[in-house]
Symmetry: C2
Subunit: 304 residues, 2 copies
């Protein structure tokens, strides 16, 4: 039984879609973040990550040399390091690492492959800052989930080492938009409908094929990838994206794990600090991530 | 003629008062900040200011040795360094100074004089960090406006130097709640009614008299205070608080200046980045403040 608080995300999505009088208060560029409480004890410091606008979310007690490279969602048309700073701040705080949240280019300028390239640029910049690849995890939600995978393909093309791990929240990884849950979850998903996702996919890929591995991770060769951890809500049109990605990765020999959350909506982790399901998901995520980053203790260490 | 955008603050206040279904999204502890855009180029770094929880809002190009000590509004029952970080961030960025935003104790714990003492503690901490009093301005909105004055009385009692200047936005400085605009602006003010303000005043002052100068700045001896600059909206119940404070300060020989903004509501500067009136007010505030802090140029200097 979902918590009462967890209905907040559905309410916000309904407000976005219904556009009532007060919508401008919460549908503007930054409105998404009303879902998320301030984690507290996290500093937000803007940075130029090799030419890519970015923001460090630095928990007071984080291991400075462990980094989550974070790609926000928003269908390649919205979201920013500002809308997602608190959610990634919660994740960083639980994990005991710093988060670098990037403002990759958005549409209309940011057509494929620009967001992929921006992500690789930020990753290369992190490596240049002497952060070891084995101490970096990529973390992305929704469209940022696609980038979390495709940027690794591009980085590998360029001879860069792959990061230690990949963390995906409600990832969008099929730009053909063919998942069975497009039909079976229609009406349950408070945000999406299939034609809209298809339109977003077409706007993003431009002249690239929807079957291009750099567009659709489901067609990518994931051999050699580090462990992948995926969280998704069972109400989502994108549920099958997560299921198929994990299966596809496992077939390539990758340690991939899926957690499906009952009665949860797209990117429900944005309710961090407010809905117990979001906090539990982030707790589980952090438990999974710490050993992948070489952090063996169960809680962030202030003395690190 | 007020801008269309400037109605946002009235809308938010109406939502707070009417409590529709989606209110919980924007009436929580952090909801106030939906009014304010991200200034950008400002870092937010939490700090312990001598035992008082605080946050630096540090514009990338600020003069590091010039500081606005910022006390947020919220009737001593709400608001925080989180709700106000963006507004004070805009003010700091325009001024070319850093802002230290403090979480003074709130009711029920934070009865008078605890918020006054917390403000003095943070001020003493700033002086201990070798920030010169002549390079510090106190800046407060609403209830934080009262603290911006009363904390100076307390600091003077303790032998501390007074700050260079005081900046007040819609300050609440009469805890007897007797201003003539309590009646003449009734119905125009989208947030307040007189009995509510009286209740907030009684809850805050506890056993102290409403005529105590440490409670009601209108009864304080302001002789020797640095220059005071006040902004207020002409729709406010608290309009007469500002008028009387400026008159009271001038009678004590203080350089005090009042700017009344047409068709504006309580703390309309929270719409910074969104309503032109808020941006214009902050621009004027910064123009006033820079020379008081020894900054003679008209724009913040990146090279400082």
């Amino acid at each position: 039984m979902a918590s009462e608080q967890s209905s907040l995300v559905s309410k916000l999505y309904r407000i976005w879609l219904s556009q009532p009088e007060q919508d401008e208060l919460i549908t503007n560029q930054y409105g998404w973040d009303v879902l998320t409480t301030e984690p507290g004890g996290v500093d937000y410091i803007e940075a130029d990550a090799g030419g890519v606008e970015a923001m460090w979310a630095t928990p007071k007690d984080a291991h400075q040399d462990r980094v989550l490279l974070c790609m926000h969602g928003g269908g390649f048309i919205g979201g920013s390091m500002y809308t997602h700073r608190k959610m990634f701040g919660h994740i960083a705080k639980q994990t005991g690492a710093r988060a670098l949240i990037i403002n990759y280019r958005l549409l209309p300028e940011g057509m494929h492959p620009k967001p992929v390239d921006d992500t690789v640029t930020a990753y290369r910049w992190l490596l240049d800052q002497r952060i070891a690849a084995r101490h970096i995890a990529f973390c992305g939600d929704s469209a940022g989930g696609a980038l979390s995978v495709t940027a690794q393909l591009r980085a590998r093309e360029q001879g860069l080492p792959l990061p230690a791990a990949t963390i995906l929240l409600s990832p969008w990884v099929d730009f053909e938009v063919t998942g069975g849950t497009m039909q079976s979850n229609a009406g349950k998903d408070a945000l999406f409908n299939q034609p809209w996702i298809k339109q977003l996919a077409d706007d993003y890929r431009g002249s690239a094929s929807e079957r291009d591995p750099l567009v659709t991770p489901l067609h990518a060769d994931l051999t050699g990838f580090g462990p992948i951890y995926v969280q998704v809500g069972d109400q989502e049109l994108l549920l099958d994206d997560s299921r198929r990605l994990v299966s596809h990765a496992q077939q390539a020999g990758v340690d991939a794990q899926l957690e499906v959350f009952d009665e949860m909506q797209h990117t429900f982790q944005m309710m961090a600090g407010r809905a117990p399901e979001a906090d539990e998901a982030i707790h589980r995520l952090a438990e999974w991530a710490r050993p992948k980053l070489g952090l063996t203790e169960t809680e962030p260490a202030a003395a690190a």
